[in-house]
């Protein structure tokens, strides 16, 4: 079954036409990378998938997006339910000013879970999946702000995993991090795809080719090419793609 299925999506910021007729499908437990020059609409499309763009005034969308077969823009859809299913990790780590433990527990608590032993178990599991457990297990009651940038980003990943989403959206999750933290996050993505479907926006070509199964190349609001990552990087069909991945522009 397809996890994500976008059909003829057009998106506008007021009168600016940011995405033009995008259709794209993502299979379960795959990693898809979105690449393309700055301002081409990668983040915009990513934020369509968990309806984060709803928060911006004056935006408008046409077309349809199905997640696990359900139209997420149908009138009866509850956005908070959707976002439980489609988690997101942002470019800049944004932990809450709470303890490490409470950062992870937050998503469970706001979704009505009160069982403390379950919460403790989920906190541990999520921190382990995010490869952060060993570094923080002795300071769960310390402020999340005391962690390094790379640790904070993995905390945010753990936070997203704690509520067991189906899809995890990552918008340049490693762009603010050093090479070692970046490598850790890439390893992590590789591990995570056993359990999750992942879509990652990145400006780093090596990263895209290392972590993803498929790659989508966007340019000026259009989806130019979408194919297996190996194919995109070795034998792209469009000249624009070729130019971008070889660094001739962008």
């Amino acid at each position: 079954m397809l996890t994500v299925e976008a059909k003829n999506v057009d998106f506008y910021y007021s009168d600016f036409h940011a995405l033009k007729n995008i259709s794209l499908e993502v299979e379960k437990n795959k990693v898809v990378a979105f690449i393309g020059p700055s301002g081409c609409g990668k983040s915009t499309f990513l934020r369509i998938l968990n309806r984060m763009n709803d928060l911006i005034d004056g935006t408008r969308m046409t077309g349809s997006v199905l997640i696990e077969g359900e139209d997420i823009y149908a009138p009866n859809v509850r956005v908070d339910e959707l976002r439980k299913k489609v988690g997101m990790v942002f470019q800049k780590p944004n932990p809450f000013p709470k303890t490490i433990f409470e950062n992870i527990a937050y998503g469970l608590r706001v979704n009505g879970i009160k069982d403390n032993s379950f919460i403790e178990q989920r906190v541990e599991e999520s921190l382990k999946s995010a490869a952060l457990w060993d570094e923080v297990k002795d300071k769960l009651k310390k402020s999340a702000f005391a962690l390094s940038g790379g640790q904070q980003q993995r905390l945010c990943i753990a936070r997203a995993l704690a509520i067991s989403p189906k899809v995890v959206l990552m918008d340049e999750p490693a762009s603010a991090l050093d090479p070692i933290s970046t490598a850790k996050i890439e390893e992590l993505i590789y591990e995570l795809k056993k359990d999750y479907t992942i879509i990652i926006v990145t400006h780093n070509m090596q990263q895209a080719s290392r972590v993803s199964d498929k790659t989508a190349y966007f340019y000026l609001g259009e989806l130019i090419e979408y194919d297996d990552t190996t194919k995109i990087f070795t034998n792209p069909q469009k000249e624009s793609t070729q130019n971008y991945i070889t660094g001739r522009f962008g």
Binding site: D57, D80, N94, T99, V110, S143
Partner: protein
């Protein structure tokens, strides 16, 4: 020789103007401190003589030329409390609504303009309005209730503003982070945004208390008693209040010369209350900002 090689003269000039500017800034800020110390020193030296336990705990006697200011202290505290009960909930909730729910709406813009205008209205106008509405139309009479509502109205713009500004200062990424986890807007505000904004909101609230406790005009026609040596029993009673008492014994007491000392003593108590409130604000602010980071 390019122009860049000849910059040493320009460098000298740059440094000189920088030196002059900073010296000027420094002098100005020192003079502000000096004026403040002057005022405090003046009031303290004049007023400290009459301050003792009796002055703080007994009622005025012999045409307010002797005795203490106990009823006025209590009256001011009661009015501060009463106006806060009114303005804090309304102000905080409006602030939240304006920043979190109706950010760009016409209604929010309208409320914003109105509150800005309201905060520029002279306080005596509030007094007049409070008299017309609360004392007469609603029939509360000269009472704690009418005075509290009038003072509450006066401080409402400040409470709304600080709430709104404190919320605005919280980076949008925290809201996104919370919403992306399936939290509702209300949960996001309650569990993430408000705790973060709280230290700043508290500061605003306490500053508004400082303002309320020092106002004379709004209570003049709504609650303040010229001379009332007993404590209030209900919210429909009148009270004395420090700022008004100060005004009365300095301008229209039975014997202004004889009550001069008491006037300075009253001023000192009033300043002390405002000062304590401000220190409390600072303390709560640091306390809550530490707590926010911790949990």
């Amino acid at each position: 020789m390019t122009p860049l090689d000849k910059t040493s003269k320009i460098d000298k000039r740059k440094r000189r103007s920088q030196f002059i500017a900073f010296t000027l800034f420094k002098l100005m800020s020192y003079s502000v401190v000096a004026m403040l110390i002057l005022i405090l020193g003046f009031i303290t030296t004049k007023g400290i003589g009459v301050i003792n336990w009796e002055f703080l705990t007994t009622a005025p006697q012999e045409g307010m030329t002797k005795g203490g200011i106990y009823p006025a202290i209590i009256g001011t505290l009661v009015l501060v409390l009463g106006s806060s009960l009114f303005s804090f909930p309304i102000g905080i909730m409006s602030g939240i609504y304006m920043n979190e729910y109706a950010t760009n709406s016409k209604l929010a813009a309208f409320i914003r303009v109105m509150t800005n205008n309201l905060s520029g209205v002279p306080s005596v106008v509030f007094g007049l309005f409070g008299m017309a509405l609360f004392v007469n139309t609603m029939g509360f009479g000269d009472s704690i209730l009418a005075g509290s509502l009038t003072l509450g109205l006066l401080s409402l713009p400040l409470v709304i503003r600080t709430t709104e500004e404190s919320l605005k200062a919280i980076d949008f990424s925290f809201r996104e982070g919370s919403l992306a986890l399936g939290a509702t807007k209300l949960q996001t505000i309650r569990k993430v945004i408000l705790p973060m904004a709280f230290p700043n909101i508290i500061t605003g609230l306490i500053l508004s208390i400082g303002r309320v406790s020092g106002e004379t005009a709004p209570i003049l026609f709504t609650v303040a008693a010229y001379f009332l040596p007993k404590l209030p029993h209900s919210i429909f009673d009148q009270v004395m209040a420090l700022p008004y008492h100060l005004y009365v014994i300095s301008t229209s007491g039975t014997d202004i010369e004889a009550s001069r000392g008491i006037a300075y003593g009253t001023a000192l108590v009033l300043i002390a209350i405002v000062l304590i409130v401000n220190l409390l604000a600072n303390f709560l602010r640091t306390f809550f900002s530490k707590r926010v980071k911790m949990n």
